[in-house]
Amino acid sequence: MSQATVPVLLPTGFGSDVSNADREEARRRRDEWNAVDQSVRSQSFWRDTGKRFLQNKTGVAAAATVLLLALAAIFAPWLTPYDPLLGEPTDRLQNIGSPGHILGTDEQGRDMWARVLYGGRLSLAAGFIPTVVAAVVGTIIGVTSGMLRGVVGTVLMRFMDMLYAFPAILLAIAVGSSLGPGLTNTIIAVTIVFIPPVARVAEQATRRVVVQEFIEAAHLSGASRFRIARSQILPNVLNDIIVYASGLVGVAMIIAASLSFLGLGSAPPAPEWGYMLNSLRGSLYTTPLVTIVPGFFIFLTSVAFNMASDALREAMDSRL
């Protein structure tokens, strides 16, 4: 028996007593099994989720609404000739549908349509940025403490629990009034409010995943903890976090609007929807429909996000 008969993949010296007949027999038996189950197509979880989401009409409509609002905010200058900050004092409090002002004018004669469009930039940013930042930071904290069961994990989650012990809006108000008014500070405040719940969702999902055997298998291959977190745990907790975070965008917008309603949000002339609603409060009895315009847009965006979030949850749930 020469060295040439030893298969390349074997450590040298091994298998020299295995006859070729044995090998062929083993091959034949495996080829028989190979013949079974031939029609298998790849079914990626994310592609499946996407397909199911697209089948949900409500979800698609909601996502389209969100997209439309975002586009309208981005391309505001092309959609209106008016300046959102400059008003015509003679045109104050025009009603909805008045000539030249589709949505009327506010108490300083500024065009409402222009203010709604430009304001969408601020309000959508206040909904999106805190959610995305909190999702990233919360995931890092949650996955870390879910993996490390020692002191670090406990301390991190205990701190999160303490922030969680505040009602959301109250914490945002407290942080907001500590930092002072301004859109950036509002975004920071809402982010701080959202990190603990995201961390909790991520931690629970991580705990569910780390006890599974494929994590042990990953440890066995010599992978570092960071590598396991990134390549094995993260893809398995991401769906929970995405579903949860998608439901937070609407809440973030409402909290941000609440803060500017209270005077803690973006600085006064800026057309943030929550601030607009507050400043128009005085004209509720004269031009009620104009007054509710900014509120209507907060509501519309929030509903659209919540519906899209529900559809996403359903699309992910029906797996397996």
Binding site: I169, S178, R281, I298, F299
Partner: protein
């Protein structure tokens, strides 16, 4: 059970301390000098320093926290220069008003939510279910201050059925009338969440094996539903603590719009006036109330549901 109560209270103490530390830090690291409102504009640096020393503003943070916490435990939350009142006095008055509003809102919202959730859950996929789903999704998405403004426009402005603001407890009728609009605008979100949770719970329980067993045992549909409802209630109770918290936090907005003399309005006015001592006191009291309510809900749940009892102990 007694051991359980003690254990659970023991767990709440670090949370309470943590909450107070967060509140303290938030109001201490504020940009600007805290003595600015207390000294005359033309004060000399020496005079400023005297005030700072008197208030202990240059002490290390942990020491200041301990001083503040000890005073707070004795009921001293500081003195509001703007209002010329003790913060504790202001809060005691306001706390009762907020508590009444939050309690009535919670009761109303949870009761209505239970009813709607039950109807939707037992008529899954039918028109009633779809309608209720839309309503609860709307309730979840509408900012309470926006709803408050709409209600004001319709019922106080247009129809003049209810007062547009203030609280009056002179006689039961006026008291009830002044409660209606704030309760409606505050409780819609509670109703929405409760309805969604109840519906999900009922759908779950109806899918469980024991319902088949009950039917097989020959119970009437009414009795089966009673069992289902009782089993679906647990998640509702779990969320109710958070709901009351949301109501307490949301009170800032609702009370501001309806000029309801509670902690929310107090907080709003204090924020506008940059009266940080009051902001600090009100935030602390609302947060502590929330922690204690959650504790009570946990214990209540443990008393009702043996599974939860096991989980806590």
């Amino acid at each position: 059970m007694l051991r359980l109560i003690i254990r659970r209270i023991g767990l709440a103490i670090p949370t309470l301390i943590g909450v107070s530390i967060i509140v303290f830090i938030l109001m201490t690291v504020v940009p600007g000098s805290p003595e600015a409102g207390l000294v005359p504009e033309d004060a000399t640096p020496e005079e400023r320093q005297a005030i700072r020393d008197q208030l202990g503003l240059d002490d290390p943070l942990p020491l200041r926290y301990v001083d503040w916490a000890i005073a707070a435990l004795q009921g001293d939350l500081g003195h509001s220069q703007q209002r010329r009142r003790e913060v504790a006095d202001l809060l005691t008055q306001a706390w009762g008003n907020t508590f009444i509003l939050a309690l009535v809102s919670a009761a109303f919202g949870i009761a209505l939510g239970l009813l709607l959730g039950y109807l939707a859950g037992t008529r899954r996929g039918k028109i009633a279910d779809r309608f209720i789903s839309v309503v609860s999704l709307g309730g979840l998405s509408i900012p309470s201050f926006f709803l408050a403004i709409i209600l004001l426009g319709i019922f106080a402005g247009g129809l003049k059925w209810f007062p547009s603001g203030g609280a009056s407890f002179d006689d039961p009728i006026t008291a009830l009338r002044s409660l209606v609009l704030p309760v409606l605008s505050g409780s819609l979100i509670t109703m929405a969440i409760t309805a969604r949770v109840t519906r999900a719970g009922i759908v779950d329980v109806f899918g469980a094996d024991f319902v088949e067993t009950l039917r097989a045992k020959g119970l009437t549909e009414f009795e089966v539903r009673r069992h289902v409802l009782r089993n679906a209630l647990s998640p509702v109770l779990t969320t109710s603590g958070v709901q009351i918290g949301a109501l307490l936090g949301g009170s800032v907005l609702v009370e501001t719009i309806f000029r309801w003399p509670g902690m929310g309005l107090l907080l709003y006015n204090a924020i506008s006036a940059r009266d940080l001592v009051v902001v600090q006191g009100a935030t602390l009291v609302i947060a502590l109330t929330f922690v204690i309510i959650n504790l009570l809900v946990d214990l209540l749940q443990a008393a009702i549901d043996p599974r939860v009892r096991g989980a806590i102990a």
